[in-house]
């Protein structure tokens, strides 16, 4: 029996961050992890997929742009998939090892094993070395989510895979059918295509990334995805699969008719579900909603006052950075600080080609919130020197502001390094910046970041590097 002030269950970007902050605040803290430290994000999610995307992006550049730039490669480029995957794994191991060091450095006790509540005060932790009992004054449930499995496609993670299995392919599959054109499915599709895989996406909706990002941003990615040779089937419902002598036949219903798609591997990326059915949460009396999320308040406290929940397990959006914010917040609440979840926006980034990133509201969300008079404009990367010199000119920065006050309500980027550019937008939204605040901040030249300044100017009606009608914009109310 071990006793702690705080026990964190799950060591993903919510859990390990919470544990470190708890330790910093002087709590005797333990963290329990059944798999690798860092959770899905570091091991089978964000980080490994980015490693694959970076590598395949370079490959794509070498194959497509080098020649134009006068960089001739003698002979073709050979992809050593086994080496690529082991390099990807080394990235994950480095990150996971780093988390281990940080936890140790902060004197957080790391317990390896599968935790289950016995009651409100006690966990049993099963590991290879046996079962131990752990008690604590406070528990933080950070047990995350897992890929949704659909009927007819049971994961074996070799041939019928979730993202986890797909990231571990150690040879380039010839034909892949991807069920679900959300951000995870698209990211993997994009990089597999660059490796030469024939990819067919079976999407139930009539567009990709529907409801996730700004529709115009999604359109840019859709066009480029289709141009790259990926086949997208809209309004298609995957019904089942059949193993044949040369792979699989996936049946999908499209417009009431069944169509068959051949594949060597099947990837199912239709979303993720919270792990509310695990950890025996009901033994502690923790309330769970009908979708499997643990019910929490603005302090991320569950119905049991000394038990908190953070990250994917406690609600949408299921994003690592939201989990980390909650982790820090809950640790500080435990130490007596008065905090609530008080963020205006959780930025979303999609590592497609090109990338999509957004902060704040879409036009539809603005309207739903009662902002009826909006200023909306876009600035294209094609008009940005750095983008042209990188040979990455697809996409734009789109800004949405309140017409009366010029307060920025949303920024949506599709284009090169959108994921890195979006942080300025997050700051702008959180600070309540006006278009002029961005327009009047000197942005360094020549950088992709200038597109932010130019998009703000464009929304005000007078960007320099695109032609706008004279005085198209309104004069600021009180500049």
């Amino acid at each position: 029996m071990q006793n702690f002030d705080v026990v964190v269950i799950g060591s993903g970007p919510g859990g390990y961050v919470a544990a470190i902050r708890c330790a910093q605040l002087g709590f005797k803290t333990a963290i329990i992890e059944r798999e690798a430290l860092g959770g899905v994000c570091l091991n089978v999610g964000c980080i490994p997929s980015k490693a694959m995307i970076t590598a395949t992006h370079l490959l794509h550049k070498a194959e497509h742009d080098f020649k134009t730039m006068g960089l001739n490669i003698k002979g073709g480029i050979e992809v050593d998939m086994k080496k690529l995957v082991s390099w990807k794994q080394s990235v994950c191991d480095k990150m996971s090892g780093g988390v281990n060091q940080l936890l140790k450095g902060n004197s957080v006790v790391v317990i390896k094993g599968n935790a289950e509540f016995k009651n409100q005060k006690e966990l049993s932790v099963k590991s290879i070395s046996g079962t131990d009992s752990v008690t604590a004054k406070y528990f933080i449930v950070a047990t995350g989510s897992r890929p949704i499995e659909i009927p007819g496609f049971p994961f074996d993670e070799k041939e019928i895979c979730s993202s986890t299995g797909a990231l571990a392919f150690d040879e380039i599959p010839k034909r892949v059918v991807v069920i679900g054109g959300g951000y995870i499915g698209l990211e993997i599709s994009c990089y597999l295509r660059k490796l030469g895989t024939e990819v067919t996406i079976i999407e139930a909706n009539t567009s990709l990334l529907s409801g996730v990002v700004d529709p115009e941003c999604a359109q840019v990615v859709t066009r480029k995805t289709e141009r790259s040779g990926i086949i997208i089937k809209y309004g298609a419902k995957a019904k089942g699969q059949k193993k044949t002598k040369d792979g699989y036949e996936v049946t999908a219903e499209i417009n009431g008719k069944d169509e068959i798609f051949k594949a060597d591997k099947i990837l199912v990326t239709v979303g993720r579900r919270p792990n509310g059915d695990q950890t025996n949460l009901k033994a502690a009396g923790i309330a769970i909603d009908e979708r499997g999320f643990v019910k929490v308040d603005a302090k991320r406290r569950t119905n049991i006052p000394h038990i908190f929940a953070i990250g994917d397990i406690c609600g949408q959006p299921m994003l690592a950075h939201k989990a980390s914010y909650e982790g820090v917040m809950v640790a500080e609440i435990l130490s007596g600080a008065n905090r609530v979840y008080d963020a205006k926006t959780v930025p979303a980034v999609v590592f497609t080609d090109p990338e999509i990133a957004s902060a704040g509201m879409t036009e539809a969300e603005c309207k739903a919130k009662g902002y009826n008079d909006l200023l909306i404009s876009k600035f294209p990367f094609a008009a940005n020197g750095r983008a042209v010199s990188m040979s990455e000119t697809d996409g734009f920065v789109k800004m949405i502001a309140d017409k009366k006050t010029h307060i920025i309500l949303g920024i949506h980027i599709v284009g090169p390094e959108a994921s890195n550019l979006i942080s300025e937008a997050v700051l702008a939204v959180e600070m309540g910046a006006r278009l002029e605040d961005i327009a009047l901040s000197i942005h360094p030249h020549p950088t992709l970041g200038e597109t932010m300044m130019e998009a703000a100017e464009a929304t005000l009606g007078h960007a320099i590097h695109i032609i706008q009608k004279p005085l198209a914009g309104t004069k600021p109310a009180h500049a």
């Binding site: 603005a298 600080a337 008065n338 905090r339 609530v340 979840y341 008080d342 963020a343 205006k344 006050t405 010029h406 307060i407 959180e430 600070m431 309540g432 006006r434 009180h478």
Partner: protein, 439 residues
């Protein structure tokens, strides 16, 4: 399990109070909302209720101690929370329409207040600011929550109503510009830093030092702020109130039948309101933060009242809609409670103009200070018999009464004030005119 009961917010701008007495002792069983202590603030004495029921375990202060708002006053064992504690903290906002009348007495036992107190005792029960339309940086939002200031409906002093760090701090300190967004008046400048020169002396033995606290301190702060912000000017004139005196004499019987007494004040109020309707800039405020003039469509008339604790200004709300008889009764009631220190904070808030009546004591003229954020104050002085030279060359006698109008020169020009006073005189010298405006 012991539960801490904290000293709740006692009113806008009140940060601490002196413990007058405990009304419970250790081992007493208290009910939710039961008064546990009397606290004297710079505004008045307030009865503090317990937000929860339980048994008193420990009293943390003794009589005479100064207790800061939000500090633990006492602990209860076996506390059970009532249902009243979860309501949203609207009360402090509701009270912000208009602004802190200066020197103020206060609520002694006001049930409406107690829900506010319970609420803030449960501290921090208000929704995340990110979900509202309020603009404030993440750091400011955090600060506001940490010190218990709900900025969800605040209109700040920054661009486009942005709530600044300074706004939050001064909201806690009491001079913030809380606005309901719908034309509510913001309270001039947030925290103003006045120089604090020391008084040095060579004759300390023959002097006595007393702390500048309570109502006196509040009076000092408010008047200093008003004088610092508003460029004052005063116009003085003498009115022939012979008819007014006769009219009031003739009303005495009527008043007695209605169990009241009619003074000149309600009649002066009516004449003032009629004049303000012609000169709306007198029924206004300047929102310095927003650089706007706020014209008010309602007439709340404050009147300065001298009390043993110092100057307070009770307010007759919507005086334009009340009869002279009703106003008379209200003045008598408010004056009595002002002297007894029993006015509710609400009863001293929201004035749109103030009348000061020194006449009952003496003095020919004075130069009053405007009750910020109002923009004018009317002074009325003693009625005297005065000989005059009549048109036919003979000497006659009139009842003469001096009036002053002191105005905010930023908004009101000298000539306008002169026309204002002239128009006012046309009514007060011939009170029958007032009947013309009655509906």
């Amino acid at each position: 399990m012991a539960t801490d009961v904290k000293l709740p917010e006692l009113g806008e701008g009140v940060t601490e109070g002196e413990l007058v007495k405990w009304t419970v002792k250790v081992c007493d069983v208290v009910k939710a909302d039961q008064t546990v202590a009397e606290i004297m603030t710079d505004k008045a004495t307030v009865e503090v209720p317990s937000p929860v029921a339980g048994t008193v375990k420990e009293l943390k202060f003794k009589k005479g101690d100064v207790i800061k708002v939000e500090s633990v006053m006492l602990t209860l064992s076996g506390a059970t929370y009532g249902t009243a504690t979860t309501t949203a903290p609207v009360a402090s906002k509701a009270a912000s329409n208009g602004h802190t009348a200066p020197p103020v007495a206060t609520p002694a036992n006001n049930t409406a207040r107690s829900s506010t107190m319970n609420m803030s005792a449960a501290s921090g029960i208000y929704p995340p600011v990110a979900d509202s339309r309020v603009l404030a940086t993440p750091a400011t939002r955090r600060l506001a929550r940490e010190i218990g200031v709900d900025i969800n409906e605040m209109s700040g002093s920054g661009l486009a109503g942005r709530v600044t760090r300074e706004d939050v701090i001064s909201a806690k300190g009491g001079t913030a510009s809380l606005g309901s967004g719908s034309g509510a008046v913001s309270a001039g400048s947030p925290s103003m830093n006045f120089p604090k020169p020391a008084y040095t002396t060579t004759n300390a033995q023959a002097e006595e030092r007393v702390d500048l606290v309570g109502i006196r301190k509040k009076i000092a702060q408010n008047l200093q702020m008003s004088k610092a912000i508003i460029p004052h000017f005063t116009l003085m004139d003498e009115a022939d109130v012979t008819q007014l005196v006769a009219m009031r004499e003739s009303l005495k019987d009527f008043a007695e039948k209605n169990q009241t007494k009619i003074t000149y004040l309600p009649i002066v109020m009516k004449a003032l309101i009629a004049t303000m309707k012609e000169f709306p800039q007198f029924n206004a405020s300047i929102d310095d933060a927003a650089s706007q003039i706020v014209y008010k469509k309602y007439f709340n008339i404050g009147f300065a009242a001298d009390t043993p604790n110092g100057l307070v200004v009770p307010v007759i709300k919507n005086a334009d809609q009340k009869t002279i008889l009703e106003i008379s009764k209200e003045i008598i009631d408010l004056s009595k409670r002002a002297r007894d220190g029993k006015l509710k904070i609400d009863e001293m808030k929201g004035g749109t103009i103030t009348i000061t009546n020194i006449g009952s004591v003496g003095g020919t003229y004075a130069t009053p200070i405007i009750n910020h954020p109002e923009v004018a104050i009317l002074g009325m002085y003693k009625i005297q018999d005065k000989p005059i030279l009549k048109a036919d060359g003979s000497i006659g006698f009139i009842k003469a009464m001096n009036y002053t109008v002191t105005a905010d020169h930023r908004l009101i020009d000298g000539a306008v004030a002169a026309y204002f006073l002239k128009s006012f005189f046309s009514k007060i010298q011939n009170p029958g005119v007032l009947m013309m405006g009655m509906s």
